[in-house]
């Protein structure tokens, strides 16, 4: 039987605030355990939460970026459960009235079509602490540095139909949160964590199958593998005559499988109710306007503009809008050299390859946008051939100065003087009478041999087009 997969994602993204969502403690990653937890984070008796306005501002920016409704009034609720790294015995979250309502994002399918994925809601909440099981023999340590870190939980509709779509959606959200600067999106540090709800149903059936929830996935690769495994598992269960159980599962990357964590029966009754320590969150028009006034052009809009105004291919437009810094770099180079296609080729080609190889982000590139534009200008004015330009690029990458300095220092200027090239050609023809004879007898393939000889004689500096042209004329006799 052909099966259809249905996937929805819950993404927890850490908001890039200096302090915690309900206390003044710092949120910086990597401090020694319990050094960034104040009385409020520890849940001492008598302490009270006070909402961090910056967290609200960042949530509102996200909502606006996905064209969602921003709730004028939203409510913080307590999610009650006992766990050692949950100091108060409840997590402050939003339940019935989240700050960000229904929105959507667009993902690109493999065939190039766009598909809209609904975002049900996004709500503000505090993170829990961390249990440390390794370092304490027979005991568990608790680190509450992370407790109270602001999170935006972004909940999607069950709109994805394959692991690829799920990954595309997750990448899209990841791109947006970083693009608009609300999160560093750092997955190693837990700033972007995914829970996947997945079920299968016979192709054509309308009602959903029973879902399993895979918790706490922290890479796109693991997301894809976990979902693949889970699809196979659920198909096996059903085709083996069994039933999928509603449960929470964990993905074990080492064994590449998902494992049951707890079933629905063992699930907590969270006893949500409005937190009486916090007033309803009211967002007025002024706050909304101020929070979103400086929202940058979003990646989808920018990609469209690149295609429309610069005539870029889908591939290039996508690549160059992978991050805001890359797009800005491209725009600067394209504006300086006036040839967007040329800029796109170099940024997408040599520069990206060099960055990847060195493990650098565009912001760390040793060649600045104006530096690259300087190089492209020398290609455009025919000072450099493509091949020479690559040499200059490498020298620039190695810190040998800007394009003009490298050209001067290495004497890499392209030879475009016709008489100089003719002199070289004459010498080659004179030195290779046998080959000339064969060529003239019809062995066309030898043309490449002559080009190579001339280029070598010019130390690669002769303009290849002129070499072609003049060689053809001379060989023709």
């Amino acid at each position: 039987m052909p099966w259809e997969t249905v996937i929805g994602l819950e993404i927890h993204t850490q908001l890039a605030t200096q302090s915690k969502i309900f206390s003044g403690a710092a949120t910086a990653f990597g401090a020694p355990p319990n050094t960034q937890a104040c009385a409020i984070d520890l849940g001492l008796p008598g302490v009270l939460p006070v909402l961090n306005e910056e967290a609200v501002r960042l949530a509102v920016r996200f909502g606006t970026a996905i064209e969602a409704e921003i709730a004028e009034r939203s409510v913080f609720a307590r999610k009650n459960y006992f766990y050692p790294d949950l100091p108060k015995g409840y997590q402050i979250s939003q339940y019935e009235q989240p700050v960000v309502g229904r929105g959507q994002v667009s993902i690109q399918l493999e065939d190039g079509r766009q598909k809209a994925i609904g975002v049900t809601r996004a709500h503000l909440e505090e993170d829990a602490g961390k249990s440390l099981h390794e370092d304490f023999h027979g005991l568990t340590g608790i680190d509450l540095n992370r407790a109270g870190t602001p999170l935006l939980e972004i909940v999607s509709e069950p709109d994805m139909r394959s692991p690829e779509e799920a990954v595309a959606y997750a990448r899209k959200i990841h791109q947006i949160v970083r693009w608009i600067g609300i999160s560093d999106g750092n997955m190693q540090e837990g700033s972007f964590r995914m829970d996947a709800n997945i079920s299968i149903r016979p192709q054509g059936q309308e009602t959903f199958g029973t879902r399993a929830e895979i918790k706490n996935i922290n890479s796109f690769r693991f997301l894809e593998r976990a979902l693949r495994f889970e699809i196979e598992r659920q198909i096996d269960v059903i085709e083996g005559g069994g039933q999928v159980v509603q449960e929470t599962r964990l993905y074990d990357a080492e064994r590449d499988e998902t494992r049951s964590m707890r079933s629905k029966e063992e699930a907590n009754d969270y006893r949500y109710f409005p937190d009486p320590d916090l007033l309803p969150l009211v967002i007025d028009a002024d706050f909304l306007a101020a929070a979103t006034a400086d929202l940058p052009e979003l990646p989808d809009a920018m990609r469209e503009r690149f295609r429309r105004d610069h005539g870029l291919s889908d591939y290039d437009a996508n690549l160059l809008t992978a991050s805001r810094a890359l797009a800005a770099y491209f725009e600067q180079v394209a504006a300086a050299c006036g040839d967007a296609k040329l800029a796109a080729n170099w940024i997408g080609g040599d520069l990206s390859a060099a960055l990847n190889k060195a493990g650098l982000e565009i912001g760390d590139s040793p060649i600045s946008a104006s530096g690259l534009a300087g190089l492209l200008a020398r290609i455009q004015d025919r000072t450099l051939s493509g091949k020479l330009a690559k040499q200059v690029f490498e020298a620039m990458w190695g810190g040998e100065g800007d394009a003009d300095a490298v050209i001067a220092a290495k004497g890499l200027r392209q030879i475009t003087d016709t008489s100089a090239i003719e002199t070289l050609i004459d010498a080659i023809i004179a030195a290779n009478p046998g080959q000339v004879e064969q060529y003239r007898a019809g062995k066309d393939k030898l043309f490449g041999f002559f080009v190579g000889q001339v280029m070598r004689a010019s130390k690669g500096q002769a303009n290849p087009e002129q070499v072609n042209e003049l060689l053809k004329a001379k060989l023709a006799g």
């Binding site: 009385a39 520890l42 849940g43 001492l44 008796p45 008598g46 302490v47 009270l48 939460p49 006070v50 909402l51 307590r78 009650n80 006992f82 050692p84 100091p87 108060k88 015995g89 409840y90 608790i142 009754d269 006893r271 949500y272 109710f273 009486p276 320590d277 916090l278 007033l279």
Partner: protein, 484 residues
């Protein structure tokens, strides 16, 4: 010295009749001698108190003393005090020392008060007789076989027995006013949000409010002046400006419209209490007030509403007492569940457990709508009753408690009978309104509380109306004979 009100003590301090150190020594000596009879204090810290008294005296010498500087008071043991045990009347927090002061403690400290110690209370403020304390019951100074009321029973007994000049309390359903009534004091529960809850261990966050327990309305005005005001650490504290309460208590009562809710004078009200309230009404008539009969039709629903809302919030507020980070931890837990269950089973008393269980139940899936949501709706109806009433009258008057102090143990095994003690006080907490209890004429030798309920942020009016009665009568001056 101990017979004086704060206002009188301040005069003595200013005139140099005695120093704050002498005053503090006097109270410490009384506590040492008399507290064993009452069990009003959980913690007394003489050294700390005397050091504070010395600072107060030196401040006075520098000409920087205010009306509370050098006045020895006590804090209910629900307020966190930096460096001094804060138990909340519970084994769970026996030995807990907070690294910070509650805003109430901090503000009174800034005003220069001397903290003698921390007073006994019902465990986590859950009770109306002070019998649920891990530290044992408090006795009523008027009759040591009777309860002082609760939950601020230690504060009430300490002020009534003159073991401090005044005390702080907290009131979630009547916990300031009812013990004030049973011990013959003036006790004020301010409007919700008037006084910061920071550092005050939460019972039911949407109902809890701190307030003064004093010998007179004037003293209550002095204390509230220091306690009240916006606090950025408490999101529910009000931005409303704080008026000058002392200048507010000089107004005559001519033309004041006072409402008498018929629901507060019906079945269940002790005849002696009723007679005292009638006498107070007659006195207010002489002072120029006009009385109208009003109705608060939903007030019979306030007790059941309260016993859904308060336990729901407390079940969540008390979840942090899990034996993991501080507080009582059981010996040698086998695993996490054992750590939780035994620590909490050992650390909490029966009444706390009862309310945690009720609260957990009313919030659970399938019951939330029927209990918690319905209670929230009733809360609105109860508030609407008051809104309508305050369109017609300036103030509402009635008894604070249906009876005078009852014998220790009389209701300890009957939670519902105990809960009905707060039948006249609970509605104001649900509505967030200010309420004040002041002594009416005693009944059969025991104090009777007269309750005044005002509109939001009308504390100044309540204090004035109480003060006018206290100028005209001497009911509030009576003190328990055996603690003279």
């Amino acid at each position: 010295m101990h017979k004086k009100t704060i206002a009188e003590l301040d005069r003595g301090l200013r005139q140099g009749d005695y120093s704050s150190v002498e005053l503090t020594q006097h109270y410490l000596a009384r506590i040492e001698r008399l507290n064993p009879r009452l069990n009003a204090y959980i913690t007394v810290d003489g050294d700390r108190a005397l050091a504070a008294a010395e600072r107060a005296d030196s401040r006075r010498r520098q000409g920087q003393a205010g009306p509370l500087t050098g006045i020895p008071i006590a804090h209910k043991d629900i307020f966190c005090t930096q460096g001094l045990k804060t138990s909340c009347g519970s084994r769970m927090l026996d030995g807990f020392v907070a690294p910070y002061n509650a805003t109430v403690v901090e503000r009174l400290e800034e005003a220069g008060v001397v903290m003698l110690g921390k007073t006994n209370m019902d465990e986590f403020a859950m009770g109306s007789s002070n019998e649920t304390s891990w530290y044992g019951p408090v006795r009523n100074p008027w009759d040591e076989t009777r309860v002082p009321g609760g939950s601020s029973g230690g504060s009430a007994a300490a002020v009534a027995a003159r073991l401090c000049a005044a005390a702080t309390g907290t009131d979630t359903g009547g916990s300031i006013r009812q013990p004030a009534a049973l011990c013959g004091l003036t006790g004020l529960k301010p409007t919700y949000g008037r006084v910061s809850r920071w550092g005050m261990i939460a019972f039911a966050s949407s109902l809890d409010q701190a307030g003064p327990m004093t010998r007179s309305a004037e003293d209550a005005a002095l204390l509230l002046q220091a306690m009240a005001g916006f606090d950025p650490r408490d999101s529910t504290s009000a931005q409303e400006p704080v008026p000058d309460y002392l200048t507010g208590i000089g107004q005559d009562l001519k033309g004041l419209r006072i409402g008498l809710p018929k629901e507060y004078f019906g079945k269940g009200l002790d005849a002696g209490v009723a007679a005292s309230i009638e006498a107070a009404i007659a006195e207010y008539r002489r002072l120029g007030a006009e009385f109208r009969d009003i109705s608060l039709p939903n007030s019979p629903l306030s007790v059941p509403t309260y016993y859904v809302v308060a336990p729901a919030e407390c079940s969540s507020n008390l979840a942090r007492f899990d034996g993991v980070r501080y507080g009582h931890r059981c010996q040698d837990p086998r695993d996490l569940t054992d750590l939780y269950t035994r620590s909490r089973a050992e650390g909490f008393g029966a009444e706390v457990k009862r309310r945690v269980m009720i609260g957990t139940y009313v919030l659970s899936a399938g019951y939330y709508d029927a209990y918690y949501l319905k209670a929230q709706k009733l809360r609105h109806l109860i508030s609407d009753d008051f809104r309508r009433a305050f369109a017609e009258v300036d103030l509402i008057l009635g008894p604070t408690s249906p009876t005078t102090a009852f014998p220790l143990g009389a209701k300890a095994d009957d939670p519902v009978a105990m809960y009905l003690n707060d039948i006249y006080t609970i509605a104001t907490n649900l509505a967030g309104l200010p309420g004040l209890s002041l002594p009416a004429a005693p009944a059969a030798g025991l104090p009777v509380g007269l309750q005044l309920i005002g509109d939001y942020f009308q504390e100044a009016r309540l204090l004035n109306v109480a003060h006018q009665l206290q100028k005209a009568t001497d009911w509030h001056l009576a003190s328990p004979p055996s603690f003279d």
